[in-house]
């Protein structure tokens, strides 16, 4: 059903927690099922220098939040913003139907929205 790695990340999430002075913070909730993910991140030199997440919900949403968080650490924000559904699926390594796909995309939505809001604020500053 779920690959070992996915369950591993569900039971032992990486980078779980809060940042004291995040550069961006964004939370997404799927009201259809209650899955929720919040990312807080620090950006320096155009890369994600630190990232933590909190949340609750099903194995797919939470494990993906952990896997994605691990994957984007140290990456340039343009790279992170270009991640899409295909990238998420190859990261988690299982195929999903359209309903469950929403669970897997929730963390990416939270992450990309947070970064976009940070960029908007930087332009206006």
């Amino acid at each position: 059903m779920y690959q070992e790695e996915l369950l591993n990340h569900y039971h032992r999430p990486r980078n779980q927690g809060r940042l004291e002075h995040p550069d961006f913070s964004c939370s997404r909730l799927n009201p259809l099922c209650g899955d929720q993910v919040m990312y807080e991140g620090a950006i320096s030199d155009g890369t994600i220098s630190d990232l933590k997440f909190t949340g609750s919900g099903c194995v797919i949403s939470q494990a993906t939040a952990s896997l994605l968080g691990e994957h984007v650490r140290g990456k340039k924000i343009e790279t992170v913003l270009s991640l899409d559904k295909v990238a998420v699926l190859s990261l988690i390594g299982i195929s999903l139907g359209p309903t469950r796909m929403q669970c897997a995309l929730l963390p990416l939505e939270a992450l990309q929205q947070g970064i976009n809001e940070y960029l908007k604020r930087s332009i206006n500053a």
Binding site: M1, G34, D35, G57, V59
Partner: protein, 416 residues
């Protein structure tokens, strides 16, 4: 002489039930979402397209006249099925949701004013809640909610209290799709009529499981869907009592509901055609007719009730013994008259429960069941639901219990 066929023998009539999932036989326990179709319903639809397809009401060649007769014959059938006075009280829609919206647009928006009240219950499915929220927003009326008690039943005393001279409409679910609660609609209708309110019943979850008599229920409007009663998707029925016909304005305008049209204006046909603009889902209605025939021939309601209650009772008994599982709803009622049971698993999200079951070919529903306010009140984000129909068996219950027992003990999913 009437041949009584035991309910257990109908299963082979449903071809989809022979499907396997990864080698596991399909164990379909999501009948509250939709029911499967007997071969006779599938044949009725394909035969219509193969032999009788034509547009209806509009012309005189024999193919079309036959199609029209078949279509109108289903209207008569539905009227008899729910004990309506006249077939003009039967409107074909695309489903329960459309039927309720039709009443909201065609009746409520014109008759409910600022300061009036619309009364619904805390059990409502979104389809019988959101349309009334919108009517209230648009008219300045107030939406009142009958509270749900801890056991999942309605606070009937409060319900009676909430119906006053201000109440213009009671919109009430008959059987809760999430908890299985059965509402005593007849009693609420009596009170509603006393205060001069109309009554709409959401019968989506009850139409396939018990005899419906609109006169006994005392309702002015009643809505249900074909696909939850062995019929095709995309077709449903809205019953509108004759006494309200004069108070309705058309919902959709166009061909099929016009008596006379000029460039400046039009006169409309009366009910039911007034509310059936455009070409209907003719094949869907034919399929609905075949579903009604099948139910009346093969599924006596008193036996169905015993059959489903036995399955629910065994499921409740089995789940009650398992750690981490919390059952929802009025369990005593469900064990004697219900057809569904919802539950939550501590430390495991409902989606994961459903995904675990799916590995073994078991289909159960997980989510808020289109009743977010109710779910919130129960303190759950999402619940899992098992719901039965006539073709389910005790063997299927034992399979799902066995799988759930392993699941709650599995350390990968929070078990010890």
């Amino acid at each position: 002489m009437n041949e009584k066929r035991p309910i257990a023998t109908i299963r082979p009539d449903f071809p989809i039930l022979t499907t396997t999932v990864d080698g596991h036989p399909l164990v379909y326990l999501d009948n509250a979402a939709t029911t499967h179709k007997p071969q006779g319903v599938i044949d009725a639809i394909t035969n219509f397209y193969r032999f009788h397809n034509a547009n209806i009401h509009r012309t005189v060649y024999r193919l079309a006249e036959t199609a029209t007769e078949q279509f109108e014959a289903v209207r008569e059938k539905v009227a008899r099925f729910i004990h309506a006075q006249d077939s003009c009280e039967i409107i074909f829609t695309k489903g329960t949701t459309e039927g309720i919206n039709l009443v909201a647009q065609s009746w409520a928006r014109h008759h409910v004013k600022a300061g009036d009240e619309i009364l619904v219950s805390g059990l409502e499915h979104h389809s019988n809640l959101i349309p009334w929220q919108q009517v209230c927003k648009e008219t300045g009326a107030v939406l009142r909610i009958i509270p749900v008690l801890a056991d999942g039943t309605l606070d009937m005393a409060k319900a009676h209290e909430l119906m006053t001279g201000k109440t213009k409409l009671l919109a009430i679910i008959h059987v809760s799709n999430m908890l299985g609660t059965q509402v005593d609609v007849a009693s609420l209708s009596r009170r509603a009529h006393e205060v001069g309110a109309r009554v709409l019943v959401d019968a989506a979850q009850s139409i396939a499981h018990q005899p419906i008599n609109v006169t006994a229920l005392g309702c002015d409007f009643l809505a249900f869907s074909g696909h939850k009663m062995l019929g095709p998707t995309g077709v449903g029925v809205l019953y509108i009592n004759r006494s309200v016909h004069d108070q309705m304005t058309p919902y959709q305008y166009g061909g099929g509901m016009i008596m006379e049209a000029t460039y400046d204006g039009a006169r409309f046909l009366t009910a039911p055609r007034q509310f059936e603009a455009g070409t209907p889902h003719i094949a869907g209605v034919i399929g609905l007719g075949a579903a009604l025939d099948y139910i009346q021939k093969n599924i006596p309601f008193d036996e169905l009730r015993k059959h489903e209650a036995a399955l629910v009772k065994r499921t409740i008994a089995g789940l009650s013994c398992m750690p981490r599982i919390r059952l929802l709803g009025p369990l005593d009622h469900l064990a004697t008259q219900g057809h569904l049971i919802s539950f939550v698993v501590e430390g495991m999200h409902a989606h994961d429960v459903a995904a675990y079951c799916d590995r073994f070919g078991i289909c159960i529903r997980a989510g808020h069941h289109c009743a977010q306010p109710l779910a919130r009140q129960l303190g759950v984000d999402a619940a899992a639901r098992i719901s039965f129909y006539a073709y389910n068996t005790m063997q299927e219950v034992e399979i799902v219990l066995e799988v759930l027992e392993r699941m709650v003990a599995d350390p990968l999913y929070g078990g010890r």
